[in-house]
Amino acid sequence: MDIKESQSLRDTLLKEIAKCRACRFCIDVCPAYQASEWVENMSPYGRLQILKYLINGTLEEDDPLIYSLYSCLQCGRCDRLCKAKGQNLEVANLIRLGKYLLSQGLVKGKKSEKV
């Protein structure tokens, strides 16, 4: 991914995440959140917030944040809730795209770039 593509992906992600109305209905249906003793970082909403703050530079990649993002099951249950509540964000895919952005720095043997 070149710099232009990376910037465009960041912009897309920030734009999409901004559409989240923080209703948090997606939280309760997330199996990883249910299995993590209700830690919000482990929920779809929490993961979107982590992504947002990683992209805008407020947070830096660390172990707990990577754990939160990579523990997303990609099961898409949150998408369904989001659609039912009228916002229709592709939450699981946004998190997956966030992983794509992160993989630039995580895969070894690549020129790493901080998210």
Binding site: D62, Y67, L73, G76, R77, L102, K108
Partner: protein, 341 residues
């Protein structure tokens, strides 16, 4: 959670490396996916092929590799030691996995039974797809799931050209992850993508009357269904499995989280977070087993994750292919013994 960043970095790098080197997520060079075809005499070429994408054949390796990764995690998460583990994986990983998987006879024979059941069912409705044997590719779905999009394109193009070289026009997939990749993701990377992709349950459902006629016995038992996330939410294959079950005289019982609202088995993160996976799958098994001790699944990942609790919770997990095998290849006694009443 400790050292997750380094650990994930190692996992992503190894996966990418394995697929680039061998086309296989485990980096196994020798052919391990054709053994199930023995005695089936499937044609080697044809416009319509059955693509297992090695998913059911991988099950013994998945069982072992998740155990190995969990026990090697403290080493993988450290810089110097990770390099040693990585080099070891390149040199010996293939052999270690092969030897370790020899002990997983049960899951190996279950996978074989599932695939044989599918072939028998397709034959019963007059479909005789070809099989690519040694040439059968892996679709690269793990690259997609883990956001390794940068490496997908190469892999997708290789697989597509392999299919075209074999003059394939239609693919019958046996698991939802493969069908999802071929149907939804491949067209994004290939212009004028022209391969028709269907899940075998869709085909059987369209011919359910012929399937009913071909059944040598009625299964006439109750099962609770675990819908796969990809199958329902991504592919919209929901009623087909219920229609086929009705053809086999199976009574399907529905859990609270079903169809489009199905709950995940926890499988997709098992490669790295085994503890969390176990919590997720246990919750799901508890929900399902409160309805019936006999659970139907339609995905290899769900199969391997839910069946871990067979002994502990006194359940039995059946893949749809296995039930087709039971209905089409008559062995009443074995089926009745396996069914948890």
């Amino acid at each position: 959670m400790k050292r997750s960043k380094r650990f994930i970095s190692e996992v992503l790098s190894t996966l990418k490396d394995n697929i680039q080197r061998t086309g296989d997520p485990f980096g196994i060079k020798s052919v391990y996916w054709t053994g199930w075809t023995k005695g089936l005499d499937l044609p080697r070429s044809g416009e319509t092929i059955l693509l297992t994408a090695r998913m059911y054949q991988m099950l013994p390796y998945i069982t072992n590799i998740t155990g190995l990764v969990a026990s090697a995690r403290p080493f993988i998460s450290r810089r110097g030691l990770a390099t040693i583990v990585n080099v070891g994986n390149r040199i010996m990983g293939d052999k270690i996995l092969k030897v370790k998987s020899l002990g997983s006879k049960n899951i190996r024979s279950k996978g074989k039974k599932v695939l044989t059941g599918m072939v028998n069912a397709l034959s019963a409705i007059g479909q005789r797809p070809a099989y690519l044997y040694e040439d059968e590719p892996y679709t690269g779905v793990l690259l997609y799931d883990l956001g390794l999009d940068e490496y997908i394109e190469d892999h997708v193009k290789k697989v597509y050209s392999l299919l075209k070289n074999h003059n394939v026009k239609k693919v019958i997939g046996v698991d939802p992850h493969t069908v999802f990749m071929l149907k939804k993701i491949y067209p994004k990377y290939i212009t004028n993508y022209d391969i028709e992709v269907k899940h075998y349950l869709e085909i059987l459902s369209e011919n359910k009357d012929a399937l009913r006629k071909a059944c040598r016995k009625s299964l006439d038992k109750e099962f609770v269904i675990h819908d796969s996330c990809y199958m329902t939410r991504e592919l919209g294959i929901i009623e087909q499995v219920r229609r086929i079950s009705a053809s086999l005289d199976i009574t399907i019982m529905e859990p609270e989280n079903n169809k489009l609202d199905t709950a995940c088995c926890g499988g997709p993160i098992e490669y790295a977070f085994r503890d969390l996976t176990e919590k997720v799958s246990k919750t799901r098994v508890q929900e399902l087993s409160s309805i019936s001790k006999n659970i139907i699944v339609e995905c290899p990942i769900c199969l391997i994750n839910l069946r871990k609790y067979e002994k502990e919770m006194g359940i039995k997990v059946w893949d749809m292919g296995e039930l087709l095998f039971e209905a089409l290849v008559y062995d009443n006694k074995k089926f009745n013994n396996s069914y948890k009443s």
